[in-house]
């Protein structure tokens, strides 16, 4: 049981730290709310609507590359660490593995995994963004439209209080 004591102490400390941080920020932080602060996203350009198109997310292809090399390293690393002991048997095994691995790599690259340039249909998406990004829109004009329904207004709040 004694071995586990540090873990328990760490656990308690972590919980305490979290709780105290919340408490401190509630007690100490100044509160001066205004419309922009209560928006879902405090900074950046305010979106008027969801982007309606589907647009390509090619992260999955990067993820495929990542997983491939991840798996390769899982095999290669232990071999590299203990090459002397593993000897020629493991050497040829690694060679065979690398050959099959290379086929997968060629496939992924041939399917465009390394074409990381600007997204091919970027032009179409940009042209359709008109109205979404506009200098006319301010925090007061847009926030009311997006998320102010049902919220207690400032004057009502004071009336309730």
């Amino acid at each position: 049981m004694g071995q586990y004591l540090p873990i328990i102490v760490l656990l308690v400390l972590a919980i305490l730290f979290g709780a105290l941080s919340f408490l401190a920020s509630t007690l100490l932080a100044p509160k001066r709310p205004h419309a922009a602060k209560e928006a879902p996203y405090e900074c950046g350009i305010v979106p008027g609507r969801e982007p309606p198109q589907r647009f390509p997310v090619s992260f999955y292809i990067v993820a495929m590359l990542f997983i491939m090399f991840d798996i390769e390293i899982i095999f290669v690393y232990p071999y590299a660490v203990d090459r002397e002991f593993l000897g020629s048997f493991a050497f040829f095994e690694m060679l065979a593995f690398s050959a099959v691995f290379f086929v997968a790599f060629v496939y992924v690259v041939a399917r465009g995994a390394l074409d990381w340039g600007p997204v091919q249909r970027a032009g179409r998406i940009d042209s359709s963004l008109e109205g979404v990004v506009s200098a006319n829109r301010t925090t007061t004009s847009t926030i009311r439209r997006v998320g102010a329904e049902g919220r207690i207004e400032e004057d009502q709040k004071s009336a309730v209080a």
């Binding site: 002397e84 002991f85 020629s88 099959v100 060629v106």
Partner: protein
Amino acid sequence: MFAAETLTGPSIPWFTLSPLLALLIGACVLMLGGSLLPQWPRGLYGIVTALSAATSIVLCFFLWDNLSDGRPETIIGDALAFDHFAVLGTISICVAVLLASLTTSDYLVREGEDGPELFVLYLSAAIGGIVMVAAQDLIVLFLGLETLSLALYVLAASNRRREESQEAGLKYFILGGFSSAFFLYGIALIYGATKHTNLGRIMETLSSQQAFPRNDVLLLAGVGLLLVGLAFKVAAVPFQVWTPDVYQGAPTPVTSFMASAGKTAAFAALLRVSVTALESRVDDWRPVVWVLAVLSLVVGSVLAVTQTNVKRMLAYSSISHAGFILLGVEAASHTGSASAADGIASAMTYLLLYTVLVIGTFTIVGLVAGRGDSASNLTDFRGLGRRRPALALALTVFLLAQAGMPLTSGFVAKFGVIRAAVETSSYAIAIIAMLASVIGAFLYLRIMVSAWMEDAEGQDAAPPVPFLSGLAVTAAVAFTLVVGIVPGWLLDATRQVITLAGR
């Protein structure tokens, strides 16, 4: 820090592994050629896949011959078994790849998205399946299971235009992930109980602990979890809930491959693990298999009757077929009886025959359903006998065979397992199986009535039958009838699968 001597690896019998290597080379050629060369001529991807599966089958026949001279043995440091059982399982899976790749080729042309990916996935799934069939070690078995399953998840979701296909893939993936976790936990517990993952060593350890009373809690929990994992893969009740949705949603050729290769691999693994490693605990796992078999038979047959979609019906029918094969597993558990080995032989024969039957049936369903697998309701089969008599006739042969009519391979299969059950004195389960077979016949009759006796209103278009699909259907019909009429040669051959390696 550095060991003085170097590791001497296990010797690798390359020829014994040649069926696997043929599939692997096929997959690599498709992947490299498919991605580096421009679009291949129509159907060539499928033909290359079929060729590598055919090569694999031919190599299996050579191996079968070699085995008949020698003894079954374990290879690569006891990781894989090399016996008639494994070779027959390999042949079943390769037949599934061969037939499914022919029909998939036409399916892809129909959907307008020809490419090598599906075929590569078929081949890698088959590699996983063959590893499962031959696995002599629980970890190797898990490796094969995952290789098979991951490929099948992607295959099920492979039609990106249809939401049903996506849904099927996701459902299968999530539930399959669960079952894999159960399976792995089972392996861990069995390892905890016996200190081994090798089936042969587990058998030795367990048979040396015969003293009563013994403490088997860890082992039994492990065996239970292992059974859950495998019962999920073979779609035995109560682990069948994914089957109708996935079979219906997945592209039809993929469904046929799942129903054939997936079942074969999982059943072979179930048989090998339970008969080899758990031989001394048959009394513990027999009741579990008994219950699984009865539930699968009854639930599969009864629920199939109420369906209106043919792919769903066939999914339930595949559940009931799983019940029949479990009958063989149950018979194999009566190790005291002289006929226990018949259980193994009949279950493996059933798997081979069912592979051909189910792929044939689903191929025809896919042809009738047409583009996007959209027309697979029972009403879409109306008047098929008038629109495409030959296709309707082939469908009738397959359905009669699935129902177990004499003179078809289905009768040979069902007769085999029921006889094995009777000869091991499991009369109750044999009677339940025969009753379930009668209930199940209603389902097949409904499809036949729809195809022959009901008239189509406004459905005059005859479904086109492309060459490769036609070839697959013809071969399957021929096999079904030949085995049904002259079953002797096959039964004589499969009688040899009863000697498992390391036993």
